[in-house]
């Protein structure tokens, strides 16, 4: 305990201080009640997101640009958490978590190459990764085709995954296999980094968070691939992540085959059934799952304080806050009512 306190005293205090600057209950209340997007942004300028907002007096900025600007604090916090951690293996895990944003930017480059769009037209949609990313982005942007990009990436895990998916991409003529390959490679890095942790408590807590997160993603992806993309059951299972906590491969198989929402919920483990039983449409699943994940993450902060899980839980919490803030801004831009916006957000965001 003394050694853990010596190692994690500094990061634990720093992360909790960062966490205390999240949007407060009052902030969320005012953001929800704001009459339009401009009022929302003016209120946001009084919160911890103020430094990353553009000058609002010049008019309301483009929403897509704003979304990436709002991600700036999250990227900064990744850098701060990485710098504060005591060991290389712990830092590796946070960097593995960060690699999901590198994958998102790579997806954007793939899409721009696929749709033949210039860098200038899409660069405002990139995550501002900062110094944490050591990939040569200028080199990737100079590529003229997707195979060339994959060749340039061959030295790292993204390139190897993309290389495997290249044949599928060429056969299907759509980017989906390449995008999923990038997602899979991120989680492979993440699991390898988690397995390399030496402290048993770090390993246990981190596994708990990551497996819960994988469950959350798998359920969301099954619904998306089934309802929005209309893929076959076998294909859906192929595009899910291994190593969930409560959602096994059998469960994923059953979920990909059922038709209605009630049957879908009935096939889920009891813990999820309790969370989702009141839902009447597919749209309510995402906020309900996020509410459950936020509950899991909040529990991490209630127990023993000196472990790596504090950093992982905080960064995922912050990421969910950002996603929900963007959902709220998009809804405000479309002039949706407070009730409609509330139904698209997890209850922690709307109730505090």
């Amino acid at each position: 305990m003394l050694l853990a306190a010596a190692g994690y005293g500094y990061p634990n205090a720093k992360i909790r201080a960062l966490r205390s600057r999240r949007l407060t209950e009052q902030d969320r209340h005012f953001l929800l009640a704001a009459k339009d997007l401009a009022s929302c942004l003016f209120y946001l300028a009084t919160s911890s997101y103020a430094p990353c907002l553009p000058v609002l007096e010049k008019g309301t900025p483009e929403l897509a640009f704003l979304e990436r600007q709002l991600a700036r604090p999250l990227m900064d916090h990744y850098a701060k958490v990485v710098r504060s951690l005591p060991g290389a293996k712990e830092r590796e895990l946070i960097l593995a978590l960060f690699s999901r944003f590198e994958a998102e930017n790579l997806k954007l480059i793939l899409r721009s190459l696929f749709a033949d769009l210039s860098r200038e037209r899409v660069c405002h949609l990139l995550y501002p990764l900062g110094p944490l990313s050591d990939l040569d982005w200028d080199l990737f942007w100079s590529c003229r085709s997707i195979p060339e990009l994959i060749t340039r990436l061959r030295a790292n895990i993204f390139g190897r995954s993309l290389q495997h998916a290249l044949a599928q991409f060429e056969a299907q003529g759509r980017l989906f296999p390449l995008e999923m390959a990038l997602d899979f490679s991120c989680f492979r890095i993440l699991r390898q980094a988690a397995a390399a942790l030496t402290r048993r408590y770090d390993l246990a807590v981190t596994e708990n968070i990551l497996t819960s997160y994988i469950d959350h993603l798998n359920i969301s992806w099954v619904i998306r691939l089934k309802v929005e993309y209309g893929l076959a059951a076998e294909e859906i299972v192929n595009y899910t992540l291994p190593g969930g906590k409560l959602i096994s491969l059998d469960c994923l198989n059953r979920l990909s085959r059922v038709e209605g929402l009630a049957d879908f919920i009935a096939q889920l483990p009891v813990v999820f059934q309790a969370e989702l039983s009141a839902l009447r449409d597919w749209g309510g699943i995402r906020p309900a799952l996020e509410a459950y994940l936020l509950k899991v993450l909040a529990r991490i902060f209630a127990g023993q304080p000196f472990h790596l899980g504090i950093g992982v839980a905080y960064l995922l919490e912050k990421e969910l806050e950002l996603a929900n803030l963007i959902t709220l801004l998009q809804a405000k831009a479309r002039n949706l009512s407070v009730a409609e916006i509330s139904s698209a957000l997890p209850r922690q965001f709307t109730e505090g």
Binding site: A13, S20, S84
Partner: protein, 106 residues
Amino acid sequence: MHVKGCRIWLTQLFLLLLPTIGLAQETVATAGGSSEAAKWGYMAAAVAVGASSLGAGIAVALVGSAAMGALSERPELAGRALIFLGLAEGIAIYGLIVAIMILAKI
């Protein structure tokens, strides 16, 4: 890794306490003709001060590093952080008080 760390801690503890015990024995020797109780009293006082100072050192190191972490993000917490640093520092003062009480009895 942890075993190695514990060994380092114990060695440091031993090295820190060794001079205090030695000094106490020297004091007893120079006092001349002191009783056995006085000898143990001096040693107890030395251990009380040494161990409590060591404890305070560890506590200040932990609280101080945590305080620095929190203050780097929330400078307004400086006042509260100082209170906790003071509490950690207090451990050394408890040892000193106990040592004075022992010495007063000799």
